[in-house]
């Protein structure tokens, strides 16, 4: 209300009359029942094409009907048909109530439609209006109180709102972020979660095996914006205050919340997801989802499936798996073999490189691992390092050194003095999937020797370390995990330089070089010369 009023004041361009009219109409309707028919005017302006009108009408509606709800001027119970009501045997009071209830229903319908409007402001105001209705309805239920399960909560209205928010056509992430405010309230959250579950199963059953990108995206955004409380004592913020039987109300129980949450996520993940969605889910899974589930092990199927997908998704699934293995006693067969096979050149280029290396570091920090496995990891990482960018190399090299430090028998990889100085071919088999058979222990890390010639001074320096026995202290990888190329450059650019060496060969023209320039620019120059 305040918002719309402000708008009215601020926008001088619009003639003030219709607003004042709407305001006065609302006042009139509320003032006397004789002017009840004016409600059509409001509904008419709600249908208007202008966004401003719609917004003001919506605010007017919310004011009107919430007052009416408060006054209990809306018909309660099973609503008879309008015509029937006119003809039926009702008192004038009842007729008025029935009439208003019909107007209320049509208003809600229209508002729900407006949730698909393309202008965000409209959606936002409509949503706030609807949620006001919901709050009012919760306080003054429109149905006969059955006192059974749901107490006095406008479950249907919430279901309708959720159904409309989870649009199949438009990306509603902005609206959802607005909706997040209401999700702070415990009862709203609880019922929204169940409505999402209902909605998802309904929608996905309808379109089997078809990816609904926008819809799933909306669902994910809504689900990820749910902040679960961690303790039952935190459950204090309710939209609808229940007078009685508070103890039995499910919305007040954390376990019920968790159950709803779990059902919702499982219901969502049951269906096929697009690749990007997989990534998004996996990114937040271990942090935002698993802790709030009653049985996190139910996620095992999903995670193993994701782990088998390969590529970045496997990397991300690793995190969830780690939580399950670490905290929930999951026994994963051939885990290290799979991890070993995850090491691909793309690992160094992936966005989730830091997270991956953090986890691999965790997995390989155990001192009970067999030496061949550690050696295989070290050798494979070294081999992959031949294609890695400098930022990744700054992670990988200390990583390998740490492996060798933890498992001193791996030292043969960098130091294997033999009596006869024989040269040998690298016995390591890169294509072997089983680390047992890859002969890493018989090999040496010539790759690091190669990297001593790397162009970046920091990498070259790091690679030089294998020339001497490694220092005992482990390197802290976490410092370099997040480093970017830009930061690397900044280091050189920002450092104070006292003297700048200069090229001593006099530059006479652009394309002077010590090797014959492969003539791209030459042509350019020649061309531009001829153009001149």
């Amino acid at each position: 209300m305040a918002l719309t009023e402000k708008r009215n004041v601020s926008s001088k361009l619009n003639p003030k009359r219709p607003k004042i009219d709407i305001e006065s109409i609302v006042e009139g309707i509320l003032g006397s029942r004789k002017r009840a028919n004016d409600v059509f005017d409001i509904l008419e302006s709600l249908r208007s094409a202008k966004e401003k009108d719609v917004i003001s009408a919506a605010s007017a509606c919310s004011k009107l009907f919430s007052t009416l709800l408060e006054r209990k001027d809306l018909f309660i119970g099973k609503l008879p048909d309008e015509d029937e009501a006119l003809n039926g045997d009702y008192s004038a009071e009842e007729k008025y109530h029935i009439f208003m209830r019909h107007r209320y229903n049509s208003c809600v319908e229209m508002l729900l439609e407006y949730l698909h409007h393309e202008v965000h402001e409209v959606k936002e105001s409509v949503l706030s209006c609807l949620m006001k209705f919901a709050a009012a309805e919760g306080q003054h239920p429109l149905e006969d109180m059955d006192w059974s399960e749901h107490y006095s909560f406008p479950r249907q209205l919430i279901q309708l709102v959720v159904d409309n928010i989870l649009s199949k056509t438009t990306d509603n992430s902005l609206l959802i972020s607005k909706f997040q405010e209401y999700l702070e309230m415990e009862d709203v959250r609880y019922y929204v979660m169940s409505s999402i579950r209902v909605n998802v199963s309904a929608v996905m059953e309808k379109n089997k095996e078809v990816l609904l990108h926008v819809y799933q995206n909306n669902v994910f955004t809504l689900m990820s914006s749910i902040n679960m409380p961690s303790q039952e004592s935190e459950l204090t913020n309710f939209m609808v205050k229940q007078e009685a039987k508070l103890e039995d109300w499910k919305a007040t129980k954390l376990s019920d919340h968790k159950r709803g949450f779990e059902k919702m996520w499982l219901g969502f993940l049951k269906y096929k997801l697009p690749v990007s969605m997989y990534k998004k889910v996996l990114v937040i899974l271990h942090d935002a989802v698993l802790p709030h589930m009653i049985k996190p092990t139910l996620m095992i199927d999903f995670l193993t499936a994701a782990y088998d997908v390969g590529g970045a998704i496997s990397l991300l699934a690793l995190n969830g798996l780690f939580v399950l293995i670490h905290q929930h006693n999951l026994d994963y067969p051939d885990f290290y073999r799979k991890l070993y096979n995850l090491l691909e050149p793309s690992v160094f280029h992936a966005k989730y490189r830091a997270r991956f290396f953090h986890l691999v570091n965790l997995f390989l920090s155990s001192s009970h691992l067999p030496v061949y496995l550690v050696a295989a990891f070290a050798k494979r990482l070294a081999r992959l390092a031949l294609t890695a960018p400098p930022t990744a190399l700054l992670i990988v090299l200390p990583f390998i050194y740490n492996l060798i430090r933890r498992h001193p028998s791996c030292r043969v990889l960098i130091h294997k003095p033999t009596a006869e100085d024989e040269a040998l071919e690298d016995p390591y088999v890169m294509d072997e999937e089983d680390p047992v058979h890859c002969c890493a222990l018989e090999s040496s890390l010539w790759e690091i020797k190669t990297l001593q010639k790397h162009y970046h001074p920091d990498v070259a320096k790091a690679a030089m370390l294998i020339n001497t026995p490694l220092p005992v202290q482990e390197d802290d990888i976490s410092e370099v995990l997040e480093i970017t190329t830009h930061e690397l450059m900044e280091r050189d650019l920002k450092s104070e330089t006292k003297s700048v060496p200069l090229e001593f060969e006099t530059a006479t023209e652009l394309l002077r070089g010590c090797l014959a320039w492969p003539v791209h620019l030459q042509v350019c120059i020649n061309q531009s010369r001829s153009e001149i």
Binding site: S346, H349, K351, L386, A388, P389, P390, L413, I414, P417, T418, D421, E422, L424, E425, D426, W446, E447, K453, H454, Y455, P457, A460, I466, N467, T468, P469, T485, M489, E490, D492, L493, T497, V500, P501, L502, E503, F504, T506, A507, T508, E509, L510, L511, R512, C514, L515, P518, V519, H520, L521, Q522, V523, C524, I525, Q527, S528, R529, S530, I532
Partner: protein, 909 residues
Amino acid sequence: MGKPPKKKSLADKVRKTKTASEIKNNPFEVKINRKKFDVLGRKSKHDVGLPGVSRSKAINKRKETLLKEYKQKNKANKFVDRRFGEYDTKMAPEDKILQRFAIERQRVHEKKDVYNLNEEEELTHYGQSLAEIEKFNDNVNSDDESEEKGLLSAELTASHFGGGGGLLRKKTSEEQEEQGNQRAKSRQELIEELIQKSKLEKRERQVQREEAQELTEKLDQEWKSIQALMVKKTPKSEQTDKPEEKPKLEEYDMMVRELGFEMKAQPSERMKSPEELAKEEEEKLQKLEADRLRRMIGEDGGDGVQRPAHLSADDLNDGFILDKHDKKTLSYQDGKWNIGKETEANQKEELEEEQGEEEEESDGGEEEDESDGGEEEEEECSSEEEDGHSDLDSEQESEEETSSKPKQSLSREELKAQQEAAKAELPYTFPAPESYEDLRRLLRGHTPENQRLIVARTQKCNHPSLAAGNKLKLQKLFGFLLEYIGELATRSPPELTTVDKLIPELYTLCQMFPLAACQAMQSILGDAAHSMEEVLEVKGHASFPTLDMLIYLKVTALLFPTSDFRHPVTTPALLLICQALTKCPVRSLQDLTSGLVLCCLAVEYVSLSKRFLPELINFLSGTLHLAVQDKTSLGYTLVPPFRLAGKYSNLLVLSSSECCESWSKESLPLSVRLELDARSDLDKDHYRLNCLSTCLDLVKRCCLLYKDLPSFIHVFQPIRALLSKHLLTQTLPKPLQKFHSEILDCLKEAPLTHSRLVFEKKKPIPLKLLTPKIVEVLDYGKKRGSTREERERERLKHKYKKEFKGALREIRKDSRFLAREKLSEVMNRDAERKRKVKEKGRDKGGGAGFHKNKQSVMNKSQLLDLQKEKKRKTTHNNTTGASYHCVNLMRKYTQQSPGTQIPPGSYRD
């Protein structure tokens, strides 16, 4: 007192009679101090002692001092005989008397005053007694002197020596002031007199000197005349000798003389300092500018009808101003003008310039030949406008010069053209641009060569040695130039020729201000990296750098050394290249071209240092992958940004195989981006083959660069797989086949085996040496290791202790000695009394009853004696025991503060 002691100990007697040597040799006298151990190099003074001698010495001394004091005790007066030799026992009485007499005489003749020299001797001067002179010469003195003589009053001294007199005088009354004035007058006069006198004297002396000189001269002359007579014989004899000596002159002497007379290295003109050179340069340019302005106005009208042609742009570089040109015209009219020195220089410069221009033309000419040259030449003429004309003029001129034809008068048109040329000609001085816009304005509308000239001249005019702010200006200019180059590259079409021309200027500026250049370049690279990072954060990938960035990267390589291990500019630049190669997906042939240019840059960056660039190999293998038709069953893995399959993974796949025949190798142009889409398939295929050939060329270079790397095989494994399995030779055109086979050969040649990795052999760490550290000790026995003050305190303490002990010992000895003396005194007295009693007894006639009546018998005097004795005994009732006295004395000393020392040796010798 004067009595010598009656009795002397026997030992003393013996000692006295013996000589010193006898005593020393007497084993009973000698006491040897036993040494516990010998210390090498230490001399001890106290190994042998003569206790007897020293004791007797001490006793003697005490007798002379302590004993006397003791005797004098309680006595108010004492008699001192001061007669000469009174106490000297050794002296014979006769000697004594003689001496005393002599002294008596001396005393009579003793001087009254120490300083009175004239008392006894008479001083003489020139044989005359000084006293006499004083007496009689008084009257001879001049009046002045007599006047002044004896006038040594306070006033006079004040007038002569100044001092504090002025102050005193002021305090006195007015009269005194008047007097003072008078005095001042007299003083002035005095001074004047003095001056006059001194002048007079001076003159007199001068006159004297002159006279003396005249006399000596005269004497000399006379002497000469005599000498000539006297010496004449000797030179003759010499002359006769000479002919004999002549042959003796040896070659050596000749040589020496020759060398002596030989020209020595003459000091040449000093080298000009850079500042001077810069100044000259600037002056030259300013002069040229003045000339140019003058000609622009067309001042050389009236008499210069024939000459203007020679005063073209090129002509003026010799810096002659118009007023002096008549010489030139003359020489010109003669037809010999080109022989003259100046004109020669002139000509040279002209020729140089012409050559430069010819070069430029020839640079441009290559393409002109290919394309239809005629039009373009015209275009060039029009674009270069009057410069061309001046060229023409100069060409004409040079022709004329060589043929040395007398030139006909210039037509009016030529004159006009020349004026225009002057207008169009570049100014010779430029203000340093204050902003980038200034620079652009300065360079706008000029040909590349002229732009270079402008920048060069700006640089010269604002040489840092010319003015204080110039350094900053030129540093800024570098930044602006860089910006300008970027702008040139972004124009369409890119004006790379201008960039090309500006490179030397950039280079020189960079050499002048390395730090500023470094910062400018760093900021450009930093901006580029920053913008790329921003895009990357949003999208996850970026687009390839544009042409200006490529040019910047290339310029970086030109200005800064790329082979440094870490360099503030080139290291980030290389990182930027690699970042672009990994993060920019190839989506079109243009992208690919940019990528390949980046690869070229990368190869160039590491060509000297042979550093390993993984990104380069990744990109090249990815590029080759783009050309693979069948993307299944690959034997290699790809690295982002390339993908195994996708929309853009077939970029280099040829649409038809016929194009191979029609293709001839060309280089890849960058600036044809827009037209590519519109081209035909055949053109596209040709372009693809161009890309492929460049890529293979780069791969070959990389092979050669990296073949020494231990993991060479593994690094090139994807490329090897690509070339051997997927990009088969048959599908490629001929020139590519050559590359193909060369690369594969290179890969096959690479060694497969390597020796195992071992740590570098450490140098064995030497064992710890345990030889003692030798410190030279120069002062034995001294305590070391504390501060000087502490040592001093220690020393003093020690000394005090020693002295204290010594004093104690002396005191004990003193008291012992005294006790002994007293005892002996008492004994003596007793013995005397006994003797007296005995005498009395003998007198009385002895008998048994003598003892009983002893007292009564004693006479009065004896009785008195005895009483005295008794009294003394009661006062010193225990003094015979030395210990008591000693303790008392000790107390006395110890009560003194420890700081006050007993004067050492007060009781010893």
